[in-house]
Point group: D2
Chain length 409, copies 4
């Protein structure tokens, strides 16, 4: 292992990645570059700098970056163009952040001449796969250090002991067991796994949720919000055009206030087991039906159905860590192509956990033609008699089969 001279570590500044930092130095005797990214998780990122310095990291080797706009614009929004949902329920909040982190780690490794990257994802989860598939796809000779698959600090007690032995500060909450949940957060969502949730029969505790009030605690008055879309992407809320990350932050605030976006599910991990997860995705939970609604009047039926048929596959690719794969890029090409005409606005009503689409329109691209769909006289726009031929030819193969069946019986 001694051939690794420099490694880029995804460093949050928290206990786990601080232990990893120290362990890397002691085990690999390598120079460590720390990378701390702001994806909207809500932490104070600059706090990571003095911590890194304490471990003797050179100032030039400390990268702290605000990636929020890039994250939402180039990852979250492209994914929403496909109305992406994994296994019918999960909005992929964790999955979609990993490709950006992987990409930036490789870029920093290239910049700093590092041979390796290191991350704090466990050996049972999806995140290790997402980080590493991305890294390998972007730099095939990258070396990857996954301490949770290598070391013997697999219990919390051993980890704390190691920290104390090496003078790594341990906050009181960790000593007391800390949050009972394994959590991950970014602008799209916050996730909870582990502990109480490991019994899928048991209801999640109200105290677990952090970003949303409960529907019961949400305001008694509904709020209407207008969302404007261009080429399938949200561009304005209530008439205000904002950068992508600010739009999503505003949706999160609106959703959180109205008790919107809690999800409680059992999902199938890529590594083969089922796992119970709870998620808060307030903004995404508003965005998804709104995007469907603007598509409902601007997309051709068969294009929409093609997208629906491909969506589960696209969702699995993202869930499984294949963002940087050529098949994801090929699908994205198709998806993006379909969004040219997805322009217009959608009005949603937010109320105690509900996101209700109440109106949608497109000045430029609506395929809704009331002169044809009307139940009233349509002045000849549609000839009712055409339907007879349409049905008869569609029925022909079944009639031939039924004829055969009746001859046989």
């Amino acid at each position: 292992m001694s051939d690794i001279k420099k490694a880029v570590l995804a460093y949050s500044g928290g206990l786990d990645t601080s232990v990893i930092l120290k362990w890397l130095q002691d085990t690999y005797h390598c120079e460590v570059v720390t990378f701390t990214a702001d994806l909207g998780q809500g932490d104070e990122l600059e706090a990571a700098r003095p911590k890194a310095l304490q471990f003797g990291i050179a100032p030039d080797n400390i990268y702290i970056e605000d990636l929020r706009e890039e994250f939402v614009r180039d990852y979250v929004f492209p994914m929403f163009r496909a109305n992406t949902v994994y296994e019918g329920e999960y909005l992929l909040g964790t999955s979609i952040a990993r490709p950006l982190i992987a990409k930036r780690m490789i870029e920093i490794a290239n910049l700093t001449g590092a041979e390796a990257i290191a991350h704090g994802a466990t050996g049972k989860g999806n995140d290790q796969v997402r980080f590493e598939l991305g890294a390998y796809a972007l730099r095939p000779d990258i070396r990857i250090i996954a301490p949770w698959r290598e070391w013997d600090l697999l219990s919390r007690e051993k980890l704390l002991a190691y920290a104390e032995r090496h003078g790594i500060p341990v906050e009181m909450k960790h000593r007391q067991g800390g949050s009972p949940y394994s959590m991950d957060a970014n602008l799209l969502h916050i996730s909870y796994e582990g502990r109480h949730l490991e019994d899928p029969a048991a209801e999640a505790e109200e105290s677990m949720w952090r970003w949303t009030v409960s529907p019961e605690a949400a305001p008694d008055a509904a709020e209407y919000v207008d969302l404007e879309f261009e080429k399938g992407d949200l561009v304005a809320i209530n008439g205000a055009r904002l950068p992508a990350d600010e739009l999503l932050a505003l949706l999160n605030q609106l959703g959180g206030k109205h008790g919107i976006g809690r999800i409680d599910l059992v999902e199938n991990r890529y590594v083969g087991m089922k796992s119970r997860g709870c998620y808060e995705t307030p903004g995404g939970t508003i965005l998804l039906p709104a995007h469907r609604a603007i598509e409902s009047i601007t997309l051709d039926r068969e294009v929409a159905h093609l997208k629906d048929d491909l969506m589960p596959r696209y969702a699995s690719l993202i869930y499984n860590g294949y963002w940087w794969s050529p098949e994801r890029v090929a699908l994205q090409t198709l998806i993006d192509h379909t969004q040219q005409a997805v322009n217009g606005w959608v009005r949603v009503k937010l109320y105690k956990g509900n996101v209700i689409v109440v109106g949608r329109d497109s000045k430029t691209d609506s395929l809704f033609d009331s002169t044809i769909a009307t139940f009233e006289d349509d002045a000849g726009a549609y000839d009712h008699k055409d339907a007879g031929g349409f049905i008869k030819l569609n029925a022909l193969r079944m009639r031939i089969a039924a004829n055969l069946a009746s001859r046989k019986s």
Copy 2:
């Protein structure tokens, strides 16, 4: 046209089908058999009998039947086994009723020696297709009379004039314009189309909704409900085993009380235009996530994904009227096969429009294995190191491609 001697008419007893009855007698000079089915639409069906008699229909030619249990057991529940949703939102409440009506009309035609069936669906909608594809598939030589595609009574004024001219009683509401909406109801849903809804930008009026209170008007206290599944079908609510139709009726009552199941969308009709529809599906809106939840712990991942991949196609088949097609039957064979192990219970919390799955378990068939999924020490049930090989081989093709790319640049 004079070669049709007897026709079976789908007869509701209302104004439209009464006019059709009379028009059939006058235009085709044929004997008419009326068929009135109770699918849970909530009308008093026996009222159709004296009306039919008034038109001179022979008592033996009046069929009034309660099909509610068959409807839910053999049509609604099999469809829910696939988590079926059309275009991401529509639960197919109207679509799923048509195949049963078509089948029963053909059976009655066979029983009574009729050459034809007649229905009151318009020439612009999906229902004509569903009735007729079903009828042709079940009896290839059936003759079909679709008055809305044949006659000249295309405006409400002409229809009313015809009714008055022939002594057909017209209720006051029809004279005044009646309900502003075209509606259809059965145990799964009630639908609204037309009039105000023809502007997809405009919010539906609160007064339109009939089966559900608004979320705002729903009780302030949440209600927990336990749903038990066997082979993918709901079999009991809160411990009470009931026939399929009573289970759905109870779910409807629960959902309606809690403001659950309103949907407002623009859908793509099979005949080619977009149309705005509003639906109330209170029970179905509870059943869908509950079924997904019980599958989430009992279905294998790849089987679940296979079902998800096929679902949009299956949904389109039902929407487009192909229930009686061989391809729907083939898909159903696969779907039903997968449901053998879908046994267990799900707990949902109902609150002001929300259906929240809070727990799920299966004594006999849970594939959730907490000894493997745990974040804690798993006593060797899972070897973290396996993940390294898993990732490396999954990455291999991308690494080879990246190697090539780097040699080229």
Copy 3:
């Protein structure tokens, strides 16, 4: 019908379309624009001009155009990028010509101010659908005249009688019954339907085939041919770069000489019946496996599988006449995107009906890496031990299920 003042007729100069020309003049009393296209069918196109003049068509209204290069470059080759085959066997030779004819007819209609187009396709076939869907998609208000669906000349006798009555010259072969087959030809193929072929149990007569010798009659010596591809398209044969149509013509010549490309099948028409067809596609039958072969070393596995999964749908779209639909264009976007790296050469051996790929290589884009695939020592390029972890995690869900099953039994 008198509101049509000018119509563009797809005119071959043959008997059928000459009768249609006359019938249009007599029935619609409209000005007729004739359009005769060279798609490589092998007829002398200029012969259509004097015939049209005889019917009084104005010289400016006679369009005779060589579309061969456009046909192969913009229609045939894009289709082959997807390895397109309908129902496992049919190379879509007729289907792919229709969109170009439809497009050009609409362009000529726009140029000449015609309100209508007319074609000679029958009411039972796919071609009427392909012409008309294309025309409607490109000009929604186009009027379409399909004489075979309108007139009463449905038997050959009536047609001949009409021709003689109106002084339309009837060649001796028509009087004697002409070719017993309904045929269609262009650079991609020649098709045969009807007559003897209407019994699918009966072997086609050797005398029917026109473009290929029988394998038995083909040369006793094999011929090797090198095909070069760029971005998925054939660009050179045996080192000679040629325009697309000349490449296909050369492949046809090679295939025809070696008895390659006869197909005898029963296909499912879009209008609902099965039909027996025989086809000669000599060049296409060489091109298809060659294109697959160059893809086999240049395309990523998952991209190739994605294409394979989508291919039947894409093939059906073309077969059914949806070339000009938005969903075909969306799929084409994906397909074309994948062909960027499909560069290299393929060597095929042609011998008595066989097309045998014997070698393939790409200097720039081969993903075949012999240092990894070798059975010999690979100097550490691949770690065998990774496979253990790969297999174990892929097996995990099945092991959990088997554990459950063994507990139950």
Copy 4:
């Protein structure tokens, strides 16, 4: 490793598995059970018995079994019901044998109380995956020994040295390098990989092929063969009903004689690399188009298309080793359901590498209706005018879109 007391070894009696046998005894100090199966590979199986005895294997621990009929009936034929081809070309001859061997090894392990199985597949190939996924699915606690991933005998020289050191007889051909190819054979095919083939640009040597003559060397006279199908399976050849394995053996003989079934391709392995393979599948190459032909007249269009859409996925499952997975079983349920009506006969003409379907019929289940498909007068079986409505409604969505586009431009 000492906790394994007994292991079942897939034992061919050849050099490699003899070395493995000895290595197992020396390394694991365990009792070895040898399993030698006749899948039609053409070796003399009883020769394995004295060899096993020489290694001290107890007579009761030597299993030599003829699995040919089970192999063709329960694995090959079910696969052909789906017209299964991997990546457009490979008939899965090796892949389909592995699940049966895995199943039988687990059964023998259960019978003999063995904790482990061992196989001679390499660490780079698909076969290790197929054996092990099958084994884990059938017995989740099975221990698997894959010597090629464990030992240091990775070159042929080391293997031969080990053999000589332990007195394992080495045939002259091995000393001289033996066959230059890695081969595998069973009733469905024989495969060649490695050596000369590792350059995908180079043509395979004629001397490599073992089961088929070259097309050039095949008889100058064509041979017609009648194949009879019941429920999608071949049941008779030229009127002779035979067990499944004898049918396939006869097809192999016919194909081999006529130079049929050679395939030369580059495939994508599940473990991530591309590999060049040559295959002889004489019988399968006849069976595939024949099965398609009988389906072409007996299967409904949409059912056939559904099968075609699912086929690549089904093929990948078999290729990747998921025969014993629940998703393969679910797909098989659908596939088998569709074959109920696939009854009838197909006539093929075999000539110098060509398999030409010349006729097909089904007395009981043909959906080919010449009274409808005919180009002649059909006495009203089909109304040409229906096509107009069919086309217009199918075009409606595209016309609406074109209207919008023309308003915008």
